[in-house]
Amino acid sequence: MYELKTLLPQFDIKLPTCMYELKNVSLSADPATSTSSGGCKGQLRLFQSKSEFSSSINSRNSVTCALDLDILGRQIQHLLKQDDTASIAMRQEKLLQQLEALKTQLGKIRADLGVCGKTVQHTTAYQNGGLKEVPLQDIVINGHPNFIPYALLALKNAWRDLYTVNVKTFTHSTMADIGPAAREFEAKLAKVPVNNALPNINVTLIWKNCEHTEMISSPTMYVPIYGEVNVIRYLGRVGPVEYRYEGSPLCNEIDLVLDICYQLLRCSTHKAQVAMVRLLDKRLQQQQYFGGSQMSVADIGVYSSLIRIPAITDKDLTPALLAWRKRAKLVTQI
């Protein structure tokens, strides 16, 4: 074999302070040789891309270290003897992980800056299957003072220790006067203490001369949600885990009860209303709450709907419903 002339002259590299020193993987076993190898000290810089990183390592190796098989052989012997491979492998794994983290971090910075590049796409796809976490939209609920969405207050009370429903009320210019009932409702909403430590959703309640209770979350995708029970469904999804019912086996039951509430609110005659109440009683049977022993959004829906229909008195309710109402009142506090 013949010796190759090094391409770069050998000199001391002044390293910037932003780098940190890593133990030389290959020479760590033999402290004597590691000190003697000088410039080949395992200084590792964190580069923006892996390829750049590896190429620079290669070049430095080739530049500063003449391959000495004897030394290498001795090192391997040493390593085998000390059985240190596991720890090295672990360290390498850790290093690779750190590099990966750095890469995603850089990718994020690029994305934020609006720099478009193939690498960015690569990293986001790699990250978590393209799932993006978007902060929850503030929602707007338009309600007529004659159809007060009591469910908001019921949820606010029921979720007191779980989730903050932060309601701000406004009066739209189409409403000259909102009436005493709505004012009382506003006052009650304001009374519920706000706990900022809990996860929360901001709700803007606007008293407006509109036909239905409607909910708007995003102005760009103007898809209003109509009806109080549907607002309850929405809040049930974004609210605390205890009230999310989609995954529960009672999902269908809860939806059914909410649908009955929807129909109940649309009934125009007392007779039809009583018929709906009877349906509700059938669903409740001897259970503690609608759909089991736990309070759910179905109870919120039924409770607030019954408040909205003063025509239904205690006489129209069965003993089971009356008992339920008492239980629910403890939670909703209306």
């Binding site: 406004f170 009066t171 210019s173 189409t174 102005p219 760009t220």
Partner: protein, 541 residues
């Protein structure tokens, strides 16, 4: 019968007056004078009648002589207090109560054979008048009425009668006036530079009727005529309402109205866009904003002040929303601990103005709406307050890239207005906590986040109408901020000096009256809400 009595009576009054004057000379002389006067009067009357006859080309005897004609110039000779004048919009309460007098303009008049229909206009109200040849009215009289030029001012004596079919072309739809006497008080030129009818025609794009429009410059050149349209009458009555409400609401809250000088020695903001006027041997500037003086009034312990006055901007911008002279409604207020005290005061003032307009000016809003089709102004009570960062987030969600510390561009401003409208259904909202970098040096930075400031903008229909902030009231800090902005502190020494003797923390803002009216009514041009607008290309009328 009644009218005849009045005529006799008025003649007697004249006679008496003549006698009274004559007594100083002699009884004989007086009699002579009276006779002469009477003769002269009769002569004049016959002369006008003959003239009318000649014009008509009809020499037949006129039975209605003296019931019509050109009135002599009113020089306040007689009081004529026996003539009971009634406003057109009050006519419905005088139905079947006999004869009455009305003064108004000839809106249109057309005679057809033995009849003449004349629409009388009084400001925004119109009523149909009818003259038909009969016992009282002669052929010549009908002809005379038909030839009165449009826009002339006339006095008529007439009897209101209810009509079976609604008159669609008039504001008084249930009645018409049967004329018995008609006199021209002030005659208009026969040729008008623009027709009121054309100027007040509704601006519907898909109108298949007459499509004659009067363009903006013709309107402004003949503003006196243009202002007579019902829409313009309503606009300026509403504008007066905005000023009145602004004054009333703030006065009620303990504000004091102040008047600030308009001729100033140094440019208050920047210096590029000020008008220079010669001031004896020196030159001076026209005030761009009363801000400095408002702040000095606060430093002088007036606590809460407002001012209504002309503001001048020498900006050569020919847009739909810039004027070189406009009326500024400015307010400044000292607060205790947080500038939101002021923000809420201003916001609530706006809400109160909007409510006042909605409740007391519905007639005006409606008549503007008849010509310019726009949606009613919507607002929330209390006003909606969004953070600047929330606004930026809404824009980003809509796919607009805008920086955190970047000012809203005009298209972004409008888009944000549309987004807010879609979500909250309000045409008025407040944006709070603007980035410090885009605000003037005297703006107080946000104590919790130095990229933001204690400043706010208010928007109507997506256009900025008010820009305000907490001002720095500490002279040392003010100097520091001015230096940071690279402003020569020697030039604003007087401003800084006014805070040296103790000044309460304060905040405020100012609005342009014309812009507020324009946006409230949803009009497309600020010149429509300035009575005699001044822009880079217009100094007259």
């Amino acid at each position: 019968m009644e009218s005849g009595a009045i005529c006799v009576h008025s003649n007697m009054v004249e006679d008496k007056e003549n006698v009274a004057n004559g007594e100083q000379v002699s009884k004989k002389g007086a009699k002579k004078l009276a006779k002469a006067a009477k003769k002269a009067e009769q002569k004049a009357e016959t002369a006008t009648a003959i003239a009318a006859n000649n014009a008509a080309g009809d020499s037949a005897e006129d039975s209605a002589l003296g019931r019509y004609g050109l009135s002599e110039m009113i020089q306040s000779k007689d009081k004529r207090s026996e003539r009971n004048f009634v406003a057109v919009h009050e006519l419905s309460s005088h139905l079947e109560k006999g004869l009455l007098w009305v003064r108004g303009r000839v809106h249109t008049s057309r005679s057809k054979g033995k009849q003449c229909f004349l629409i009388l206009r009084q400001q925004s109200s119109t009523v149909q008048c009818i003259l038909a040849v009969g016992d009282i009215i002669s052929k010549q009289m009908v002809k005379f009425a038909g030839n009165i030029p449009k826009e002339s001012i006339i006095d008529i004596q007439a009897k209101p009668v209810s009509v079976p079919n609604k008159i669609e072309s008039c504001t008084e739809q249930t009645l018409e006036l049967c004329v018995e006497q008609i006199f021209v008080i002030s005659q208009a030129k026969a040729q008008l530079p623009l027709q009121i009818e054309d100027a007040s025609r509704p601006e519907n794009a898909d109108d298949d009727g007459l499509n004659i429009r009067v363009n903006q410059d013709t309107r402004l050149d003949n503003r006196v005529l243009d202002l007579r349209t019902p829409a313009n009458q309503a606009i300026f009555r509403l504008e007066a309402g905005v000023c009145r409400l602004f004054r009333d609401i703030l006065t009620e809250q303990g504000f004091t109205e102040i008047h600030t000088p308009k001729i100033i020695s140094a440019a208050s903001e920047g210096g590029a866009n000020v008008f220079t006027v010669s001031y004896f041997k020196d030159s001076a500037y026209l005030a761009q904003s009363p801000q400095l003086y408002k702040q000095m009034a606060i430093a002088a312990d007036f606590d809460k002040v407002y001012t209504v006055g002309a503001v001048f901007r020498a900006e050569d911008s020919n847009t739909h929303r810039h004027l070189t002279e406009f009326v500024g409604l400015d307010l400044e207020m000292a607060f205790k601990y947080h500038y939101h005290e002021v923000l809420h005061t201003i916001g609530n003032t706006f809400t109160a103005i909007f409510k006042g307009l909605r409740d007391n000016y519905s007639r005006e809003i409606e008549s503007v709406g008849q010509q310019y089709k726009v949606d009613a102004f919507k607002f929330l009570e209390p006003p909606l307050i969004l953070q600047f960062s929330e606004g930026v987030a809404m824009l980003r969600e809509a796919g607009v890239e805008t920086g955190d510390e970047e000012d809203l561009s005009t298209p972004n401003e409008k888009l944000l207005g549309r987004l807010v409208k879609a979500k909250y259904d309000t045409d008025f909202y407040i944006l709070d906590k603007f980035p410090l970098a885009i605000r003037p040096f005297y703006t107080m930075p946000d104590p919790s986040n130095s990229t933001y400031s204690n400043s706010y903008d208010m928007f109507m229909r997506g256009e900025e109408i008010l820009s305000g902030a907490q001002r720095i009231h500490d002279p040392e800090y003010l100097i520091e901020r001015a230096k940071h902005h690279g402003i020569d502190t020697t030039k604003i020494a007087a401003y800084i000096e006014s805070f040296r003797y103790g000044c309460p923390p304060h905040a405020g803002g100012g609005i342009g009256m014309e812009r507020v009216v324009m946006l409230y009514l949803g009009l497309d041009n600020i010149r429509k809400t300035s009575m005699f607008p001044r822009d880079p290309k217009r100094l007259t009328p």
